[in-house]
């Protein structure tokens, strides 16, 4: 009798979780595509609202698409695509998967998974940043290094990530500044090391400098009206 009720409750929980999973999966995806709008509700309001601030920021969306390692705490049906070792369409508790950050965060909030520190913040990377932050290929490790680190630090409870980010950015900022403002030519290799955030910074400096140069050199100060240079067409 007791065992039966226990099993029933478990099944109930499982189906509830499945429902949540599936609905989050779909809703978030639709929302990301801009097809629906998720209204902020309940005590979540403030965090939701803050998230809304850059809701339509494509970089924010792409940053949240980065994969992070996670471990399922519960057995979950219907999500076999994360761990397709068999055709049960089911994930066992304790199985390691890689989830996009936006899904991992939601599942983490619902206590369904444990999020681990992504490999781009591992010991090796940290040592390389300590040694010479300016020449670490962060883009290869994670194109949204700072954004992901900023978002994931409170989730995994790793207080050292913030410091790694700050040290890396402080050193690399100088490099970007020099390359963007002072150097005339940059090796294309330099750009391939930068994360998306740094590339944006570099581009901001570059584009305003080129716009100024263009204005100074002048270009056509007087533009010909489009009707003027036109030849009359022969009438057939």
């Amino acid at each position: 009798m007791y065992g039966g009720r226990e099993r029933e409750r478990e099944r109930e929980r499982e189906s509830e979780l499945n429902f949540t999973l599936r609905s989050i999966f779909r809703l978030e995806r639709l929302a990301q595509l801009g097809l629906i709008y998720i209204y902020p509700t309940g005590e979540d309001y403030k965090t939701r609202y803050l998230m809304m601030a850059n809701y339509f920021d494509i970089d924010d969306i792409l940053a949240e698409d980065e994969l992070v390692p996670a471990i399922f705490r519960e057995a979950t049906n219907g999500v076999g695509l994360f761990d397709s070792t068999d055709d049960m369409n089911k994930v066992e508790p304790g199985s390691k998967v890689e989830l996009p950050f936006w899904l991992a965060r939601e599942l983490h909030l619902r206590q369904a998974v444990t999020v681990n520190v992504p490999p781009c913040f591992n010991k090796r990377t940290r040592e390389e940043i300590d040694a010479d932050a300016a020449h670490v290929d962060l883009r290869n490790r994670c194109p949204y290094f700072y954004e992901l680190g900023y978002k994931i630090a409170p989730l995994v409870g790793d207080k050292t990530i913030g410091l790694v980010l700050l040290i890396a950015f402080r050193t690399r900022y100088k490099e970007v500044l020099i390359k963007a403002h002072i150097a005339f030519e940059v090796a294309p290799k330099f750009l391939s090391l930068l994360t998306e955030e740094e590339v944006k910074l570099y581009k901001a400096a570059q584009s305003s400098a080129t716009a100024f140069k263009k204005w100074r050199i002048g270009g056509p100060r007087f533009q010909k009206a489009s009707v003027l240079g036109r030849k009359r067409k022969a009438i057939q």
């Binding site: 300590d130 700072y146 900023y150 630090a153 409170p154 207080k159 050292t160 990530i161 913030g162 410091l163 980010l165 700050l166 040290i167 950015f169 402080r170 900022y173 100088k174 500044l177 020099i178 963007a180 403002h181 002072i182 955030e197 944006k200 910074l201 901001a204 400096a205 584009s207 305003s208 400098a209 716009a211 100024f212 263009k214 204005w215 100074r216 002048g218 100060r221």
Partner: protein, 211 residues
């Protein structure tokens, strides 16, 4: 900041700055007779031959194009003044010399439209180019001090064009530093006894650049 050219409003385009610079006053010597102009921005004139009068740059350029006046070179654009400024700029590693806020644009407009009114035009032009290059280099090296301890950057005597060029970069950099140095990211890590070695390297609070 209202700007037509940039949807995010973070910068003016150079052409917009040029437009703003056209409101600066210059002195012209008309060679025609005309009643005072009563415009929204003020009354200009009356215009009498050989009697100097103050008009906005756009009006001066318009009259000049029609051959109705000569433009008097502003004081600061004389070769002696510019030489002094250039020397002072080179001598001081940090400070910028006071120049008109729109000096780049005004010089450009005068070079384009009033080249026959400028004595030693090649000299003046190359002096202004040199001054501009020295100042830009100074800005570039000056920005290296930005770090997570910088909350603002004080730029005395910087001109409109110079500010406008560095604005997107500086704003983004300060924003990122602010974000990464936010209390929830850093504070606790510093307090930990086994905090990483860099925690000590963060150093004392850096004061703003003394200017």
């Amino acid at each position: 900041m209202a700007s037509q050219s940039d949807p995010h409003g973070s910068a003016f385009s150079a052409a917009e700055l040029e437009f703003l610079a056209e409101d600066e006053m210059v002195e012209i010597v008309p060679n025609m007779r005309m009643d005072p102009l009563n415009l929204i921005s003020g009354d200009f004139g009356p215009f009498r031959p050989q009697i100097a009068t103050q008009v906005p740059l756009w009006l001066a350029v318009a009259l000049k194009k029609r051959g109705k006046c000569t433009i008097r070179l502003p004081d600061w654009m004389s070769v002696e003044k510019l030489t002094q400024v250039l020397e002072a700029e080179r001598d001081s590693a940090r400070d910028f010399q006071p120049l008109p806020f729109h000096y780049v644009e005004i010089a450009r407009l005068l070079f384009d439209h009033a080249r026959d009114d400028i004595p030693d035009i090649y000299m003046v032009r190359s002096l202004i180019e040199d001054i501009k290059d020295v100042r830009f280099h100074k800005i570039g090296t000056g920005l290296e001090i930005i770090s997570e301890r910088t909350y603002a950057v004080k730029l005395l005597n910087l001109s409109a064009m110079e500010v406008n060029i560095v604005r997107p970069f500086v704003a983004k950099a300060l924003e990122t530093f602010y974000k990464l140095d936010s209390p929830e990211m850093i504070q606790d890590a510093e307090r930990r006894p086994d905090a990483r070695s860099q925690a000590a390297d963060r150093g004392p609070r850096r004061p703003l650049r003394p200017r």
